[in-house]
Amino acid sequence: MSTNLSDQEQKQAGEKPASALADAASAGGRAGDKIFSGLSLGAGIVIFLTLAAVAIFLTWQASPVIEIPADEVSGGNGFLSYVYPLILGTLMAAIIALLIATPVGILVALYISHYAPAKVAKPVGYVIDLLAAIPSVVYGAWGITVLSPALAPFYNWLANNLGFIPLFQGPASATGRTMMTAGIVLSIMILPIITSMSREIFVQTPKLHEEASLALGATRLEMIRQAVLPFARTGIVSAIMLALGRALGETMAVALVLSTGGLQWSLIRSGNNTIAAEIALNYPEAFGDRLAELIAAGLMLFVITLIVNFIARAIIARYKEFSGAN
C-alpha cells in the first residue's frame, strides 16, 4: 500500500512540476510522506527478515535431527516420540492458563471500565499493570514456595473426589508442583496482558452505541453484551493471542514450578514438561545431537505459535464485515 502511494505521488510530481499547486509547502509535505512511507516499509522489511532469519536459523540448526538414528534420540524412540509429549505439555500449560486468565481478565477489565468508580478503577488498573512488571523468576519462586504447598491438599481432595476424571486422577503430587500449578502461575502472569488490553478497548466503545443500547431499555449488563463486547471482540482475540504467545514461550516459571516427567494426563500429579522449560533446563549442557534436538523442539514451538496466530487472524477475518470498520 505505502509503496503504491509513493509511486503515484512520484509520478504526479514528475508530470506537472511547474503547476501552481506544487508550491513549497506541499512539496515539503510530500517529502515527509515519502520519508515516512519509506521508514514504515523499511521497518516492515526488517521485521519480516528477522522472522525469516529466525526460521532459517532454527531449521538449519535443527536439521541434523532427521539423520540421528531413532534409538539415539533422547527417549530412544525417534524425535517425534520425544517431542510430542513436550508439545502436549506446552499446550496443556497454555490452555489451563488461558482458561483461567481469559474470563478473569475480561471481568476485571469490564469492572474497571464500566463498573468501578474512578477512585477504585485507577488503583486496580495500576496494580494489574504492575503484575506485568514482575520478572518471571519471581513468579516461579512464588509458585514453588507458596502456591504449590498451598494447593497440595486441594489436589488431594480432587484426587479423592473427582479422581474418576482422567485429568484429576490420583495419587496427587505431595509437593503440589504439578501441571495445574504451573498453569495457574502462568495464568497470573498473562492476566495483566488480557486485562489491560481489554480494558483499553472497552473504554473506547463509542458512547454512541452504549447510549443506543441503554435508550432501548438495556440494563448495564445487557448494554455491555450488546455494545461493548461486540465492539471489543477482535481486540479481545488479539489480547488472548498475545497472552497465549507469552504462555507458550514462558520458561522460568514452568521450569521452576513443574516437577517434570513423562506425558501424564492427570494435571495434579508430577510429570509433563513444556518445550520452553525443556530447552531452558537442558540447553546449558547440550551439544551435538542433543543441541539439534532441543533446537528442533524450539522450531516446533515456533510453528505452534505461527499456527495459533493464523487461527486468530481467521477468527478476526470472519467477523470483518460486521466489525463496524466499513
Binding site: H209, A212, S213, A215, A227, P230, Y319, F322, S323, G324
Partner: protein, 259 residues
Amino acid sequence: MSKRIDVEHLNVYYGDFLAVEDVNINIDSRSVTAFIGPSGCGKSTFLRTLNRMHEVIPGAYAKGKVMLDGEDLYGKGVDPVTVRSMVGMVFQRPNPFPTMSIRDNVLAGVKLNNKKISRSAADELVESSLKGANLWNEVKDRLDKPGSGLSGGQQQRLCIARTMAVKPDVVLMDEPCSALDPISTIAIEDLIHELKEQFTVVIVTHNMQQAQRVADKTAFFNIEGTGKPGKLVEFDETATIFQNPKQKATEDYVSGRFG
C-alpha cells in the same frame, strides 16, 4: 399506545452546575412537539430527562416531576430501564449497532430483558417496524447485511425502526436530521408526520423551518449567558411561536435577530 407528558418544576444539574431551571410543560399525546433555542440552552439536557438518559452521564441528576399519563418517572422504585423502554430515543448521529445485521438491529431492543420471541413474530415485527420507518422497500433484500452499510439517512430510519419495534409510548429525537442530507431529512420529516399517529413525538431541532414543518407545538428555550441555566421561555402552537410570539426573546430568535 401513546401517552401525554407533564413536567413540573424540573431542574437539571451537572454536578453543581444548574443546566436547566424550573421547566413546566404539558405535552399532548399523539402530537409532535419541537424544542428550539440557541446552542447550549439545555434542549438536549432537558430532552434526556424525559427518559432518564441523563443519568448515564456521571454527576447528572434532575429534581422535579416528569409524569407519563400521571405516573412519575422519578417516583420511588421506578427503574430507569423500564422508563426507557416506554420512552424511546433517536440520537443526533445515526447509531445502528455496527456488529449486527439490519434485522438484528431492529430486534435489538425487543430481545432485551431475556424476552423470547418466535421466529415468525420476529419476522413480522421486523417487517412492520421497517415499513413504519419507510425503510422496508430499500432493505428487504438485505436484512442480513450489516446496518452500518446503509447510507446515513437509511441508518437513521433504521434507528427509528429499532425504537418503534420496542413499542414505546413516546419517541424523543435529538436533532435527528442534523447529520443528514436534505433528501434524507425530508424522508425523516415525512416519517415524523406518520409517527404521531402512534406515538407522542418530541424533537429537538436547530432548524426553524423543520420545526414549522413537523411540529404541532413548539417550545422555545433560552439562556441568558454562559454559566447561566437554560429556561423554557415560551411554549405554544407552532404557528403562534413563529408568527405571533408573546415574548420578545422568542420573537428575536425566530426572526433571526438573535445574538
